[in-house]
Symmetry: C2
Subunit: 344 residues, 2 copies
């Protein structure tokens, strides 16, 4: 993974030299998520989904604050040692983040990448650390089922029916502290691939997997080409929230381009719920889906050496009710980061 090579014109990837280290992490999850297959891994679980808030939006802000504070403490730090924060959420104008973390008084690089935000924030945070602008950066995101349904689809009280291709927005917040020096975890970020906006013209806001799969394909393909790698280089290639519908599309699209990732592919949206038992249709989604699967499960498994190397590729559907109602398609974007075991 040579830095100079990946920096050649036309390529989308770069590497972080000796790496940027995971210094701390946190996963805050809702009740349904805690009852799913990964339930035992989450650091903080809410008994209801209000997290002491009066509104769903305030609940989500409170989750972000809990995640931020837990991750900072997990890294053995105080908030004033975190030089910058890179993060965002699904709600308009990033209100979960804005109101969630303002009391920490950490300078904020506000990001919007829909459900790809955990990947985008890790990429931006790692650039700030690797580039020499910070010793510690907080990366963070979240989503809330009720707040997302209210913003993007129907109010819950309306009781609309859901098609089988619909995904279920995860209630959860994940945070990672990125540091220049190794800490207690054996995980480092070695490189990243910034995604492009990819639009195959899919117009079904109830089938986000189909909207996002082409973007995941593009970023994974560009990543493998930029670094001259085969899928076997990774133990797992992990997408964010394609669900069962999007997964099939991704595998088929990459196969057309000559890459078979069937053995390596894992999707956080499929892992986080037992879809049949929990009635979550095509799987989990939302910024929080990939964020808490990463911070609750994947990073811990890498640190233990269970996984040696993962390509983490959260996927975002750039869905807007305004553009959607005007008849536009739902473009996708996906950002990839390389996570590697660095223990002895």
């Amino acid at each position: 993974m040579e830095r100079e090579d990946a920096k050649a014109p036309g390529k989308q990837s770069f590497s972080f030299g000796s790496g940027v280290y995971v210094g701390g992490m946190a996963s805050v999850a809702g009740k349904l998520e805690s009852e799913g297959p990964l339930g035992e891994y989450f650091d903080i679980v809410g008994q209801d989904d209000m997290f002491d808030g009066k509104t769903w939006e305030e609940a989500e802000s409170n989750m972000q604050l809990k995640a931020a504070e837990h991750a900072i403490a997990d890294a053995g730090l105080k908030a004033d040692k975190i030089r910058y924060m890179a993060g965002g959420d699904l709600l308009g104008q990033l209100i979960a983040t804005t109101f969630g973390v303002e009391k920490l008084a950490i300078p904020l690089l506000g990001l919007y990448g829909a459900c790809s935000t955990m990947g985008e924030s890790l990429l931006a945070g790692a650039v700030l650390v690797d580039g020499g602008y910070a010793d510690h950066v907080l990366t963070i995101t979240s989503s809330h089922f009720a707040g997302a349904e209210k913003q993007f689809r129907f109010p819950l009280a309306y009781g609309n029916q859901r098609p089988m291709a619909a995904t279920w927005t995860v209630t959860g917040s994940g945070a990672v502290i990125l540091s220049r020096q190794p800490g207690k975890y054996n995980v480092r970020l070695l490189g990243a691939t910034m995604g492009r906006v990819i639009d195959y013209g899919v117009k079904d806001s109830m089938n986000m997997g189909a909207c996002m799969a082409p973007a995941a394909c593009d970023t994974i393909y560009r990543h493998l080409k930029d670094f001259g790698l085969k899928p076997e280089h990774y133990d797992r290639i992990v997408t964010g929230d394609l669900g069962v519908v999007g997964k099939e599309i991704l595998l088929a699209l990459l196969m057309e381009k000559g890459f078979d990732i069937t053995k390596q592919h894992m999707d956080c949206g499929i892992e986080i719920f037992d879809a049949k038992r929990q009635k979550t249709d095509a799987g989990g989604s939302g910024c929080g889906c990939s964020a808490i699967t990463l911070t609750g499960y994947l990073l811990k498994k890498i640190s233990e050496g269970v996984f040696k190397r993962i390509l983490f590729v959260p996927t975002g559907a750039l869905l807007s009710t305004v553009s959607f109602n005007e008849g536009n398609s739902v473009p996708g974007i996906a950002h990839a980061v390389v996570l590697e075991y660095c223990g002895k």
Copy 2:
């Protein structure tokens, strides 16, 4: 402006060593803006405010595409030489940017900083260039009067009355190409200060200047302290869209902290319109306000040596209709970048 000093814990600023250069720029403006005091400076002016789009949102996307293409050509480049793009807009889910620039196929770091986005994108873009991740980065933002009113306040057809403290969202898009090597302009970025979310509890969405002034104060104050500078170091300290109400608050707040910037202060929102003649109340606002004042006027004047050194501090009001309707305040954020003449 020593880099090591500004990187000390607790500080918010960093410097870019020998600088990151402005390689190209573009300003696309609406009709009302073209009739204002800066009208003669804009590169592209629309005859109506639709820019060949069928909707206001599509009009804004088309403006961004025009700005991006003009800036890339101005730098003597093709789109495939632009390694990354950092940008965003005011609309939910950044749809102006998403649909505007997707055909350029440049990897996108999607940002949300409300009307501070031009500062945030310059900061993030300069980090990518200075940190060695790209030779050329496109930074871009936009806003559209009709689209913003529809999203944040009332549909235009409703014909609501506007209080005198209200600002007028600028229809415009600005783009800057940041490059590792000097180009035809004599302007470089020397440093930046990333802002924090600042919330004084102001709840008036028709008085955005009051919401943002405390954030502008905080970022300017932190910048001057981090680098040990006095206001006289700069020819101009330029805020984005405080308007006449916010300007007074900013000057008073900074005076309380021991800094008198009365002589240096300039506000893009006040400069861009002749408020009395054009009936724009407290001044211009929106991401496009500071963006086209920067790319149309300020950068050209720096390149000519008229201004030797400017602190550019666009301000964002993190207004959401959801949080606002739930009774929340409107917090602010401001990001600062140092722009310097580098001719002989």
